[in-house]
Amino acid sequence: MRDRWIFLLIVGVLAVGPFVQREVIATEILIFAVVALANNLILGYTGMLSFGQATFFGVGAYAAGLLTIHAGLPLPVVLAAATVLATGLAVLIGAVCVQRIGLYFIMLTFAFNQMFYFIAYSWTTLTGGEDGLPGVRRPAALADDLTFYVLVALLFLACLLLMKRVVDSPWGRVFRAIRDNEARAAAVGHDVRRYKLLSFTISAAFTGFAGALYSLLYGIVPIDAIHWLRSGDIVFMTLIGGSGHFFGPIIGAAFFIWLSETVSVVWDRWPMILGVVFALVVLFLRGGVVELIRRGHGLVTARGGAATAP
């Protein structure tokens, strides 16, 4: 019931979005909202911290860009192919990474990210390397930014619903069980690694899909789409929004992009402000913006104790 209201609220925000922000930026926020939501499938729901989500974002983006430029395939085929490619890659990378837990998992995903970054960087005939892959043209019908925004908004809603279904499905529940207690989940008969791989792969599929949309947004796939700092951004969006709530990462993506845009205009040394905000979140506001909303609500309603219990 509650979810339905939030969902309606999101639809409302999507409707006014392009009037509040430039279409392309509103679109970019939605694309990263999908990425952050997908990241939360593994981070918030399955308890795996991947520092390599940009691998799938970048591969999705490059695949979509290359297919559009060289093959001239229709958009749905491009999006599907990019998603499939990212998914396939996630199965391979994931199969190695899920063998390990904790710091090792983080570093393996990070290292794979680096590997694919340097491949993209060095394979300039394919990717354009440092200069990026330009000339990704949208179909004429979508050339207008508002039209593209509408498409992305609809796809965003579709992704949102789909991920919500995953989370509410038996898979989602087993993911949470694994996050809570891996040994116990195995002892009751769940093949933990297979489920982790499943979660990792689903997440990568959405990430790759979002990457494909990103390539069409500005008509270019920049090399930074696959850089490890991008992976960091994705984790931070998720955490700042709040990994403890399904919808949290959406707020996180919007807040992250809004914050880095706003402070970068204010001060040249803006990453410092960003750093301070991150540090404050860690020290005083674990749970992110969602937690802030929760606490704010607790203050307002005074008897909101039940709602604020962890």
Partner: protein
């Protein structure tokens, strides 16, 4: 998954939305007569050292005219390009939307510039850039983008000619090339031009952008017994390579040629010992003998806390901004199509001497400079890095230019 109820979420989201709105409210209602120019420079990221200097210099050109040209008010806004094409694109888009930007100057690296150029084309705003990619006025040329830096062909030609004049016996060149579009196009010209000047390329090493460890390239180069190390790279890459050439005892035995240098900002990072026996090709050096340059350098140094003279980076942003203004003056308007038409074929005596904008490809034909570094004992002050010993404005032969159709407005 702790539940939170709907009202909480609603309240929070509304607050957040409001905050976002305050941050993102477009300045649509600004006075109609004001034209906004965006300086987009790397304030953070790999080239964070140059961005602030460039932005300062660009704004100096506007201050000189008191933010007014052809009866139109001008406004200057800045954004951080981060040397990330993605971020730069987004910020350019955002600035065009929220600040109604009509002209863009910057950024600093080619890949990012090409991405910003795409935005300029799409949004129909003028883009001035100075950099090593020949694509801006080459195969990715379009009506809205202009290149201030000399053509790589011009640059390589004069650098090789100067080295020949300096060193009659030299023959064998070893190339260090940064491995991306900028490096490749310059490498192509070095390799085709070298025989004409009597040189032979005895080896080429391509290194990634951001390379900090050159020892392996250096030992490889030393093995070929070259008469000079010829570098096509930039910024920190160049500085690191020079530092290590010195450590290996190659400097000053073997001349080092920085063929496309940032000038001051690179040279100041090296100690005088590392700068011995060096030839430096650059688009701008602060001793250029033009009235515009003299005034600019004096003013710039006055503003710098250490009295550091401007290098190529601030020179370029200042030069680009002056070209924007010259175009407006010629058009007697700040209207974008009018200014583009007036800029095409524009010929002015400006920062680096005579500068002509080729209508066909939007390349500025202007002198490219070669310096010889000053030995430590002869340095008049800390910033006396070298003396200009040659310059040339020879235009790239038309058949080598890849801009086949500049397109329409």
């Amino acid at each position: 998954m702790t539940p939170i109820d709907r009202r909480t979420f609603l309240a929070g989201s509304t607050a957040l939305g409001a905050a976002a709105m305050v941050g993102g409210v477009p300045a649509v209602a600004r006075a109609a007569k004001t034209t906004t120019i965006l300086g987009i420079f790397p304030l953070t990221g790999p080239y964070a050292d140059t961005g602030p200097l460039m932005s300062k210099a660009a704004e100096m050109a506007l201050k000189e005219v008191d933010y007014e040209v052809a009866g139109q008010k001008l406004r200057y806004v800045t954004r951080d390009s981060e040397t990330k094409a993605g971020s730069a694109t987004r910020r350019a888009e955002e600035a065009i939307a929220s600040d109604d930007v009509k002209y863009i100057v910057g950024p600093w690296s080619s890949g990012v510039a090409l991405a910003v150029g795409e935005v300029a084309r799409k949004r129909k705003v003028v883009h001035w850039f100075s950099g090593g990619t020949e694509d801006i006025s080459g195969k990715r040329c379009h009506r809205y983008a202009f290149q201030w830096a000399a053509s790589p062909w011009t640059a390589m030609d004069v650098v090789l000619a100067t080295f020949r004049k300096q060193n009659q016996k030299a023959k064998r060149l070893y190339l260090f090339i940064v491995d991306y579009a900028f490096g490749w196009s310059l490498q192509k010209y070095v390799e085709t031009l070298a025989p004409g000047h009597g040189f032979e390329v005895v080896g080429v090493d391509r290194h990634p952008l951001g390379q900090r460890e050159y020892s392996s390239y250096i030992t490889k180069a030393a093995a070929t017994n070259p008469d000079a190390i010829y570098m096509v790279n930039f910024g920190l890459d160049t500085v690191s390579a020079v530092r290590q050439l010195f450590n290996f005892g190659m400097t000053p035995k073997i001349p080092v040629i920085l063929s496309w240098s940032a000038g001051v900002e690179e040279l100041v990072q090296m100690s005088p010992e590392m700068r011995q026996n060096m030839l430096v090709g650059t688009n701008f050096y602060y001793t250029i003998d033009t009235p515009v340059a003299k005034k600019f350098v004096a003013e710039y140094r006055k503003q710098d806390s250490k009295g550091l003279p401007p290098g190529y980076a601030p020179g370029a942003s200042y030069g680009c901004m002056r070209m924007v203004l010259a175009g407006m003056r010629a058009a007697k308007s700040t209207d974008v199509p009018a200014v583009i038409k007036a800029t095409e074929g524009l010929k002015i005596d400006d920062l680096v001497g005579e500068q002509t904008v080729v209508a066909r490809n939007h390349q500025t034909v202007r002198p490219y400079f070669v310096l010889k570094t000053t030995p430590k004992s002869e340095m008049k002050d800390d910033y006396d890095f070298g003396t200009i010993i040659n310059s040339s404005a020879k235009e790239q032969p038309g058949e080598l230019n890849e801009c086949k159709d500049i397109g329409s407005l």
